[in-house]
């Protein structure tokens, strides 16, 4: 069996009819959509009705690899799942690193489309060309680690790679993730709930196919040339030492690190989570996703007095902030435990953290009573209460059932809509946009809700020393958004772009696939993909009225730290950005824009 960066095939699994079909992926589609996120946009917008019930039979889970996945390109391991989100009711996608995406490619598939829904719990076993839908009663109710262990035992091979859901996904909790290799999540947007609605517990993969290149010799030389420089890049070194948690010191010092439900952007207590302390108190060893010379992942281990022995891969920075500082946690033992609990349950630790911090602020303000919380003393910093609440969310028990619908739903029901730190019902990432105004555009206009990786511009804003400026951010954000469409479609982890930039990416794309695509063409394709995603939402009635931020960011000035006094003028930011994008005042792409992108 032969696979190439392009001209591969797609696996389609219908869980109603229990059919498994293979279809070719035409070269033309790779040329137009590149792979990964781009191909996801092509298939979802073509096959799924924007108005459909995200937890119904019509929704699909579309896993797509990019052409870099599985190759020697550093960090070529990101696989994208595209779906309609039950959390935000919008277009959504989520990327995961790890080793599962490459394994799917070695099994002979650039992509996998799951459609329909099963009546009984099932799992999918992909062993090269042998693909089976199998009963999964024995896995239902198991946590992520148990599911992974049981499948490896059942299939008799510890070397297989498993993507699965935990009980949060089974219960269709709207902040449930899909997890691969136990600790690598397709985190955001509730794809785990979609998988749960289809009664699909897991996708186990083993592949033994060849991944061939148009110019293997050229690719070898290119990667060999980049690697030595690469390992010495300051960002790579920082990430190696402290993982993504290298960010704590920068973001906390700059005063925009989400703390106590974003009521603050700096806390002295947050310094406990800085990189060097992390390395000393929590890290056991370094780990890497497939083909990554940075190895930013950290295995953590702590023998804690309160929680016993805690072991996990992670936590990453966003988890640290959302489950940690944002809920008032101040020590590593508590943070590691809360993170491990989310991992086991299969909850997106970011939106889960945003839900817990919302409940904590409501509790401290008297909006929720002890009776409402089933006796949980939800004060900021109470880790035991936090863990119990996370379990309630995953099981949809008590107030957990409200939060399982997302932070906006719960806050509305509790009569405190302004306290949910969300956009489109998704909790924010760590970066308070009051401290980096470009992020306000990124969050508010994101098609999937308040996610940072649509276009993380804060490092550029910090480097340019203009993070409080509102003027000029539209163009900056657009550039970052297009860059990320390209990275997410090619399948390279953004951490690796420091040492493997656009010229190298273009060269590698040619060597892998034979496709010669210029930077201008790449950006055009990116803009086209981005607008496909956007138009899915427009067709579903989304417009400027939905590109929102909580009142806290627009009306309450930050009270302390290096971003003190700041608020966000969202309307001015949106006006400029919509103009840059060629959208009207209501945030709708003009006819001219769509025809220029060949989308009309």
């Amino acid at each position: 069996m032969t696979i190439k960066g392009i001209a591969g095939q797609l696996l389609r699994v219908d869980l109603n009819r229990k059919t498994i079909t293979r279809e070719p992926l035409p070269r033309r589609l790779f040329e137009d959509y590149l792979g990964g996120r781009g191909l996801g946009a092509y298939y979802l917008t073509k096959e799924v009705d924007p108005g459909c019930d995200p937890l119904g039979r019509e929704n699909k889970l579309i896993f797509m690899n990019g052409p870099f996945v599985g190759t020697m390109v550093p960090g070529g391991n990101k696989v994208c799942v595209t779906f309609k989100s039950p959390l935000s009711n919008t277009y959504s996608y989520s990327l995961a690193g790890g080793h599962w995406g490459p394994e799917l490619k070695f099994a002979g598939y650039d992509g996998l489309i799951i459609e329909g829904e099963s009546e009984e719990p099932v799992y999918l076993w992909i062993d090269d060309e042998k693909v089976e839908i199998r009963p999964a009663e024995f896995l239902w109710g198991k946590d992520i680690q148990e599911t992974d262990n049981l499948l490896k035992k059942t299939l008799g091979d510890p070397g297989i790679h498993v993507a699965c859901i935990g009980i949060a996904g089974e219960n269709q909790v709207k902040l449930a993730c899909i997890t691969n290799d136990v600790f690598r999540e397709f985190g955001r947007g509730g794809c785990g709930a979609v998988m749960g609605s289809k009664k699909l517990k897991a996708i186990a993969v083993r592949g033994s196919g060849d991944l061939e290149f148009a110019d293997a010799k050229g690719l070898k030389e290119l990667v060999e040339m980049c690697l030595p420089v690469y390992k010495q890049h300051p960002k790579a070194l920082d990430r190696r030492n402290y993982g993504t948690n290298e960010l704590v010191i920068h973001i906390n010092n700059a005063g925009f690190m989400g703390t106590r439900n974003f009521s603050e952007g700096y806390a002295e207590a947050n310094r406990e989570f800085e990189g060097p302390v992390f390395r000393e108190k929590a890290v056991f060893s370094d780990a890497a996703c497939y083909g990554c010379p940075v190895a930013c992942s950290k295995y953590c281990k702590a023998d804690t007095r309160k929680h016993g022995l805690v072991k996990l891969e992670g936590p990453e920075f966003e988890t640290l902030a959302l489950l940690g500082t944002n809920c008032g946690l101040t020590n590593w033992d508590d943070l590691l435990k809360a993170s491990a609990v989310c991992d086991a349950l299969g909850l997106d630790s970011m939106t889960a953290g945003g839900c817990v911090s919302l409940a904590m602020e409501c509790f401290e303000k008297g909006i929720l009573s002890l009776e409402d919380t089933d006796g949980l003393d939800l004060k900021f910093g109470n880790c035991e209460a936090e863990i119990k609440l996370l379990e309630k969310i995953a099981k949809k028990e008590g107030i957990g059932a409200d939060l399982a619908q997302g932070p906006a739903y719960a806050a509305n029901k509790w009569g405190a809509p302004e306290l949910a730190m969300h956009s489109k019902n998704m909790s924010f990432a760590a970066y308070d946009p009051r401290g980096a105004k470009g992020m306000a555009i990124v969050y508010a206009t994101s098609p999937k809700g308040a996610h940072h990786m649509l276009g993380p511009v804060f490092p550029m804003e910090m480097a340019a020393n203009n993070r409080f400026e509102e003027k000029g951010k539209g163009l900056l954000v657009k550039g970052a958004q297009m860059n990320f469409v390209i990275l997410d479609s090619l399948g390279i982890c953004s951490t690796n772009q420091a040492g493997f930039g656009r010229p190298q990416q273009i060269e590698a794309l040619r060597q892998i696939t034979g496709l010669a695509i210029s930077e201008e063409e790449l950006i055009f394709k990116a803009e086209r993909i981005f607008h496909l995603e956007k138009m899915f939402n427009v067709k579903n009635g989304f417009s400027r009225k939905d590109d929102t931020l909580p009142r806290r960011f627009t009306a309450e000035a930050m009270t302390r730290g290096a971003s003190k006094g700041q608020t966000v003028d969202l309307e001015a930011l949106l006006d400029e950005y919509y103009g840059v994008m060629g959208w009207d005042r209501d945030g709708i792409p003009s006819k001219e824009k769509l025809s220029q992108l060949k989308l009309s």
Binding site: Q145, D210, F213, A216, S285
Partner: protein
Amino acid sequence: MKAIKVKAEKCVGCRICEQWCSVGHYDLINPRKSRISVHRSHADQASYPLVCRQCPDAPCLGACPDKVMALSRDRATGAIRVDEESCLACGKCIKACPYGAIKKHPAEKQVLVCDLCGGEPQCVKHCPEQALSYIE
């Protein structure tokens, strides 16, 4: 005699060694065709690269049936050599290897053993962690 020595405590499980073994031998990537394999363990929070140690008393050599005689020593490098024509992939060498460092080719009737890339092992050259070395 030089062989590949593994320092598992330095391995991060990136599997770049597998990539370069595969691409070095076949100009393509296929982890199942790599003669070095990295086993990741969440329980141990560690990764273990498995590769032939080129043992002086190589039990695999003795295990290969007399009628087959597919395994031999390379005179220049001392590496275990597999004669692809005569190997039947019967698996006796795989069982005999105390380190689990021999595996079946995923498609052909032959086994895969580290051949030291003729004296310039690609896995050692490309390991970003210096977890592998080629020494006496």
